[in-house]
């Protein structure tokens, strides 16, 4: 007898429906699984066999053929266990009711319970768009389903429950809907700007970076607090909207890194170690292409500590996503595009020994060593980092002082105001939401400089030895500073402050 069940395969962040067909016939006793399954899917046989028997049901002793259609897509992951088991049970007549329009996902334990699987959010969204309305998923993935409206999702505990549900022998309630607002209220960041002592220069630069979506480079001696500052960046970013949260959740769900909550309400902060390979940053894999750190940092912050220590290849791979805000990964099996819209925050020591510019410890590096160290970061990458600031060591007095610093919430309020101005400005420009996204055309349109400002820029170039490409960066940052100031015009002081945040460029001249 033939039976069919529906499940889903993941292709990038999208889902493709997969028909699980089972045919049981008389003949030599054997079990065939076809339809391009990978190792995890092939091994499902043993799990299914035990799960069916331990659920008090019978595994048919006949010739069983299971086909995963379409047969030309490679099937990856353990979530086919449940649909295959259900389809075997139906084909062997143990499950009477048809299960049309029902999508099942889940990994089986040997005792028949359902285990969590990756990619549920992505599948639910794709299947909902394809017209599917009813789903069975493992109970552990229930949280992911509660934010998607217009579908009935049953989060079940075991194969036996799934059978009872399909047969109608027991009643189950679909997963209750939750609102995103309720989640956002219940979570908070561990860091806060008010916990960072001193560092006024760097804090101001971070505020500008977040307000305009600019990338930022922090340079300073070891222990100066670069990492602590970077961790505060998400805390001053505007709260994620539900759509943004869903995008992030989808990526993390595909990567299998989603927490219990089932949705990501806090902006991601990713810190790949400097031994990270190019593929781990960009994403990759042969059959099922997985998102990399850049995509996992989508709508959040990608923090690269000790930037010069990363491999050259990994750093150069950052350039295209920084420009396009998406990354396309091409493999022999096909190409997948992942979103990668993040703020890049990089940190580095000012010199190999780390003490250049330190008040306490003397720097022992020669200019040639410093030049060599800094040249590990290529010009094109540096050109995509609008703000470069120095973070200096904090004295003991500052650490011990109780002087009240601004909280993240206060800074966030200013950032949100500046972002609102930018949204208004770029209403008609497709794909541009913040100042950092501006191209030459928008700069010309929105950043009109007075003759006085032009004059300042000109002398800044001569005096500070800035590169020609630094010009548009300075203007963009100046635009953001003006937005923070609620000023419609870019004033001389905005240009001057922006020029001050290019000190890596200007100090290149010194070595």
């Amino acid at each position: 007898m033939l039976s069919k069940m529906t499940s889903y395969a993941l292709v990038g962040l999208d889902g493709v429906p997969v028909e699980v067909e089972t045919d049981i016939n008389k003949g030599m006793v054997r079990y065939e699984l076809v339809g391009l399954p990978d190792a995890a899917v092939k091994e499902s046989k043993e799990r299914i066999y035990s799960a069916i028997r331990n659920s008090g049901l019978k595994f048919p002793v006949n010739k069983i053929t299971v086909n995963l259609a379409p047969a030309d897509i490679r099937k990856e992951g353990s979530h086919y266990d449940l649909p295959i088991a259900l389809s075997i049970l139906r084909a062997s007549g143990q499950l009477a009711s048809p299960a049309d329009g029902l999508v099942a996902l889940g990994e089986l334990a040997l005792d028949g319970t359902l285990r969590a699987v990756a990619g549920v959010t992505a599948v639910l969204i794709a299947a909902k768009n394809a017209g599917y309305r009813r789903f069975i998923i493992p109970a552990a993935n229930g949280g992911e389903a509660s934010f998607i409206e217009g579908i009935e999702v049953y989060a079940l505990n075991s194969l036996a429950e799934a059978c009872a549900f399909i047969d109608g022998s027991a009643e189950f309630a679909p997963v209750a809907a939750r609102t995103f607002e309720s989640v956002i209220k219940s979570v908070s960041y561990n860091s806060d700007m008010s916990l960072v002592k001193g560092q006024e220069v760097a804090k101001r630069a971070l505020e500008i970076a977040v307000a305009g979506g600019h990338n930022i480079l922090l340079s300073g001696p070891p222990g100066a607090g670069k990492t602590m500052l970077a961790r505060c960046i998400p805390t001053i970013m505007p709260d994620m909207t539900f759509d943004e949260a869903l995008e992030v959740t989808k990526i993390l769900s595909v990567a299998g890194e989603l927490g219990k909550e089932g949705i990501v309400a806090l902006r991601p902060f990713r810190t790949p170690h400097h031994t990270a390979t190019t593929v781990s940053l960009c994403g990759g894999g042969n059959a099922g292409i997985r998102p990399g750190e850049m995509s996992k940092a989508h709508r959040g912050v990608l923090f690269l500590d000790e930037l010069p220590e990363y491999s050259r290849g990994a750093l150069e791979a950052l350039r295209q996503p920084l420009e396009d805000r998406v990354i396309t990964i091409t493999r022999a099996g096909g190409a997948v595009t992942f979103p990668a819209d993040f703020i890049l925050c990089a940190s580095m020591n000012p010199c190999p020994c780390g003490n250049y510019g330190s008040a306490v410890r003397p720097c022992t590096c020669t200019p040639a060593q410093i030049r060599k160290y800094r040249s590990r970061i290529s010009g094109p990458l540096l050109d995509r980092i609008d703000l470069q600031v120095e973070v200096d060591g904090v004295g003991y007095d500052q650490l011990a002082s109780d002087e009240a610093a601004e909280t993240s919430a206060e800074i966030k309020a200013r950032v949100e105001r500046a972002r609102a101005i930018q949204r208004e400005r770029f209403r008609e420009d497709e794909g541009i939401t913040v100042n950092a996204d501006m191209g030459e055309r928008q700069i010309k349109k929105y950043c009109v400089l007075s003759p006085q400002c032009e004059e300042i820029l000109r002398s800044a170039f001569e005096r500070l030895g800035l590169s020609a490409r630094a010009r548009s960066r300075i203007i963009k940052v100046a635009r953001t500073i003006a937005d923070l100031d609620l000023s419609a015009e870019i004033c001389p002081e905005h240009i001057l402050e922006a020029a001050g945040y290019r000190n890596f460029d200007s100090s290149r001249d010194k070595f």
């Binding site: 001193g198 006024e200 220069v201 510019g357 008040a359 800044a460 002081e493 001050g500 100090s507």
Partner: protein, 362 residues
């Protein structure tokens, strides 16, 4: 390039790597002298390069093919020679004990006749001192030509200061095409407007000792030597001591006690070197003046920040904010403005220091 017969002979002899400085001089004398003198010289050579070598060199010396090749190679490399017999060989260099027989040069020959000041210093020069060196050099070039090396730190700063005027002479420790310059690009820029000099043929690789030997040319070329920065043991001090030996003036920047890169400078001042705070301190020794320049116009708030930084020396941006009672963001803009006007400079770690110039001393 046209050379007189004497110049040509000098250049050919100088190309013989087998001969040392004295041998080269004697070789020329022997060619001009009688048979007896030649014999005597050939005997003396037996101990050094030997008789066979002498004969070989003599043959080479009169070999037209070798000469053609030599001059063509110089021409191709864009290097011209100024020999001790040339009319424009600097008089001041002739007066030192071991003047180079041939100066291999690239760039603007006219600079050799200028009045010159040598500027030397350590590779590890503090950023504010480097900035000061740059400013002072650019001011001095209105009256003098700057002579310096091509190392990091003080040398580079001096070159950058003098580039705009084109009055810059770089003295190399090796041949022009031996890659001896730490800053090949900077050297190329200096050559395009100024002059570079070496006493070695273009392909000669710099050795450790050639840096010290080169220092005598730097000291000998100019009327005075300014030491911008020098640790206790520093090549800059060797240039200064050559200058003192040759009876030239020695100038030095003063430093706080305990600054490692300034100990040599302070030691020079103790020994009687002129203390230099601005270009006028040097020019007045030579009896020169600079036209009066006005301080760039400063707003009231810029003035306040500038004075604060000048009074206390190096200062952190947060301290400036505290003293001037202005928010950080305003201070950042003010500091950038002053930096652009060339009055203060970044010294790393968000610290700023005033740059000493002639104008802000008046």
């Amino acid at each position: 390039m046209q050379y007189t017969p004497t110049e040509r002979e000098l250049i050919v002899v100088d190309s013989f790597g087998e001969l040392n400085y004295n041998n080269k001089k004697n070789f020329l004398a022997s060619l001009a002298g009688s048979e007896g003198e030649r014999q005597k010289f050939a005997q003396s050579l037996i101990k050094t390069p030997g008789d066979g070598v002498y004969n070989k060199l003599k043959a080479k010396f009169s070999d037209g093919g070798y000469r053609d090749k030599l001059f063509a190679s110089l021409e191709r490399r864009g290097v011209f020679c100024v020999t001790i017999a040339s009319a424009d060989y600097p008089e001041s260099l002739k007066n030192i004990p071991v003047p180079p027989l041939v100066l291999y040069c690239r760039g603007n020959r006219a600079l050799l006749g200028d009045r010159k000041l040598t500027v030397v210093g350590s590779r590890r020069t503090l950023p504010q001192i480097a900035e000061q060196c740059r400013n002072i050099c650019s001011e001095l070039t209105r009256r003098l030509t700057i002579v310096t090396g091509v190392a990091d730190g003080a040398d580079s700063a001096a070159i950058k200061g003098a580039l705009a005027s084109g009055r810059i002479i770089c003295v190399l420790p090796g041949g022009h095409d031996s890659g001896c310059a730490a800053h090949a690009q900077l050297l190329a820029r200096a050559e395009s407007v100024g002059l570079s000099i070496s006493e070695y043929p273009p392909a000669f690789k710099a050795q450790r000792y050639t840096f010290l030997v080169r220092n005598r040319i730097m000291a000998g070329l100019s009327s005075g030597t300014l030491v911008v920065s020098a640790a206790k043991r520093s090549g800059a001090l060797s240039t200064a001591s050559y200058a003192a030996d040759y009876g030239r003036d020695v100038f030095a920047f003063p430093y706080f006690a305990g600054v490692p890169s300034g100990e040599g400078c302070n030691a020079l001042i103790k020994k009687g070197a002129y203390l230099v705070e601005n270009a006028l301190d040097i020019l007045s020794v030579f009896g020169l003046e600079l036209p009066v320049e006005k301080l760039p116009e400063l707003s009231e708030s810029e003035q306040a920040v500038f004075l604060a930084v000048r009074q206390t020396g190096e200062m952190h941006a947060a301290e400036i904010a505290k003293i001037s009672g202005r928010p950080m963001r305003e201070v950042a803009a003010l500091c950038a403005a002053l930096e652009i006007k060339g009055l203060i400079t970044r010294t790393g770690g968000n610290k700023f220091a005033a740059v000493q110039t002639t104008i802000n001393q008046r």
